[in-house]
Symmetry: C2
Subunit: 327 residues, 2 copies
């Protein structure tokens, strides 16, 4: 295993130390293991909490997006006490929304945390993200997995919470964004978790994994490597078969951690061309490594059939380490 | 070779197509092969032009940073005609600064382009970036190579140009930033150019390349893989031996394309701790994949001993695909 780490057992804690040092606008509670905006809790503002199974998710904490994120160990859910602590840290009296990717551990632990929070008088609503059209059930999931659409749910609900939206409204908006989204991913290589020390699965030199998830689990099938254009067409066909989008859509071309921008931009060129052919108009687009799976070379495509209100909220100011505009 | 591409011979052009589609605030001249701000030329503003040997550099074109970038083929200099076309496209009558990383091809072609521009009545100043302390001469260089400090030169001179700085002043400022900067890089793996189809050099499973460049060339020595903390100490020692910084410094922890954020943040934690031990104060920091070498797993550290004026310009608004704040 070749990684810039010190001790495989201590990677997350040490990365959090660096995140805290690099971003004084965030507060990292290293004991309870969560990341919050330094100005949390804000009175009267609905708080947004995300499970964080990748350090890059911590980069979406800040004005206009998340209030807190709870890192588990790599590819492992945070524990209920940790989620409860983050929930209490961001509750400003208006309640808290948990944004939960549909993975069994996350779902269970967030549910327990929500019950514990309710016992302490905090209203919690849960938005479950399950946008991955590749598989119905998977290694770690009952039902579809939550992947790239998580970023859209965070951005759009985060903007509305910043404006003063109420708890029920924000939860409903998050569910609406999730229902309007579909994703599909390809891996060229598997990621290597520090604890395992070797890739999560083996891929021959000429094969790729189609419909891969973001926790090291395998996808829906092995395929021969094909030109990017073909892969884009297959992925978009899968999304458009599952969800009958006509546009306008918000497009996310997302690298899984080890894919350089030159490839992601090439992919976006193919996405724009093919959506044009399919008669799907593009309202907004984002290209980069955002919802990642360690050092996996791979990419995911996410489309969200966006209402005018979603586009307005997408455009609203955001100021986080990972996403920043208009502020 | 596993990449999301269509044809190894046509990767740059296709990536530029995607960049243009994703960023309508840029204008990509696909015939002359350059990228400019859509509002170029701006009357009275000094233009800043960069050679672009990586598509990610194109992400630094926009208000507060570059006016144009000229992509060559992968790891190849742009040609003089192309640089001339970009120079003319951004000249608003106040002259143009060429920011040139110290690589033989770039230096030669930019010099020719500057002479051609002078023939057409455009004043050009050149800022040569040679911040890499790892090697005195290298495969592609006489003298030190230009690496991570390029981003600092672009950001700081770009901010001053946006404010209305004059040609000579901006060129002097760029040279000052370069002289105040030092960098050192490690590679865990080599990048693979699409044309070659295989990694630029071979590295055994337990070895790394120290003092690596960003064009696929080897570094100054092979080493056994060591803990991140040791690598950070060695790199910072090399920079601090070459340049006697006491701070305040601007720190760039830069991934070379295939390194995930969890590792880069862990590295930043070590950098902050060790600079503290060495008595070097940190004024500003940036962590991410910015100055890249395709899919190379690796990282570079850059320190810039910053004046108050440099820090003020670093903080100034910037709005580009790759770097954005305050605007």
């Amino acid at each position: 295993m070749k990684k810039f780490i010190n001790d495989p057992a201590d990677v997350v804690a040490q990365a959090l130390r660096g995140l805290a040092a690099a971003h004084p606008e965030l507060r990292v509670d290293t004991e309870e293991q969560y990341i919050v905006r330094a100005d949390a809790p804000r009175a009267g503002k609905v708080g947004l909490v995300l499970s964080l199974i990748r350090i890059s998710d911590g980069g979406f904490v800040g004005p206009g997006m998340l209030d807190a994120a709870c890192p588990g160990e790599v590819f492992t859910s945070p524990v209920p006490d940790q989620i409860l602590a983050a929930t209490k840290a961001v509750d400003g009296g208006a309640g808290v929304v948990h944004i939960v990717k549909n993975y069994t551990g996350d779902v269970m632990n967030f549910q327990l945390a929500a019950e514990l929070a309710a016992d302490e008088g905090i209203s919690v609503e849960t938005v479950l993200v399950d946008d991955d059209v590749a598989v119905e059930d998977s290694t770690w999931t009952a039902g579809r997995r939550g992947t790239g659409a998580t970023l859209l749910v965070e951005k759009i609900t985060g903007a509305r919470a910043e404006e003063g939206g109420k708890l029920g409204e924000i939860a409903a908006l998050g569910r609406e964004v999730n229902a309007a989204s579909g994703s599909f991913a390809y891996a060229l290589t598997a990621g290597t978790t520090p604890a395992a020390g070797r890739p999560g699965f083996d891929l021959p030199a000429d094969e790729i994994e189609a419909g891969v998830g973001i926790h090291g689990e395998p996808g829906r099938r092995r395929e021969k490597l094909r030109p990017a254009k073909d892969l884009v067409h297959s992925a978009l066909d899968a999304i458009l078969d599952a969800k009958s989008f006509t546009g306008p859509v918000i497009v996310l071309v997302n690298g899984l951690g080890g894919t350089p921008l030159i490839e992601l931009y090439l992919i976006y060129g193919e996405v724009a061309a093919y959506l044009g052919e399919r008669g799907v108009s593009i309202a907004r687009q984002l290209v980069g490594n955002y919802v990642t799976s360690l050092d996996m070379a791979g990419m995911s495509l996410t489309l969200c059939q966006a209402t005018d209100e979603m586009i307005r909220l997408w455009d609203a100011p955001v100021r986080t380490p990972g996403l920043r505009w208009g502020a």
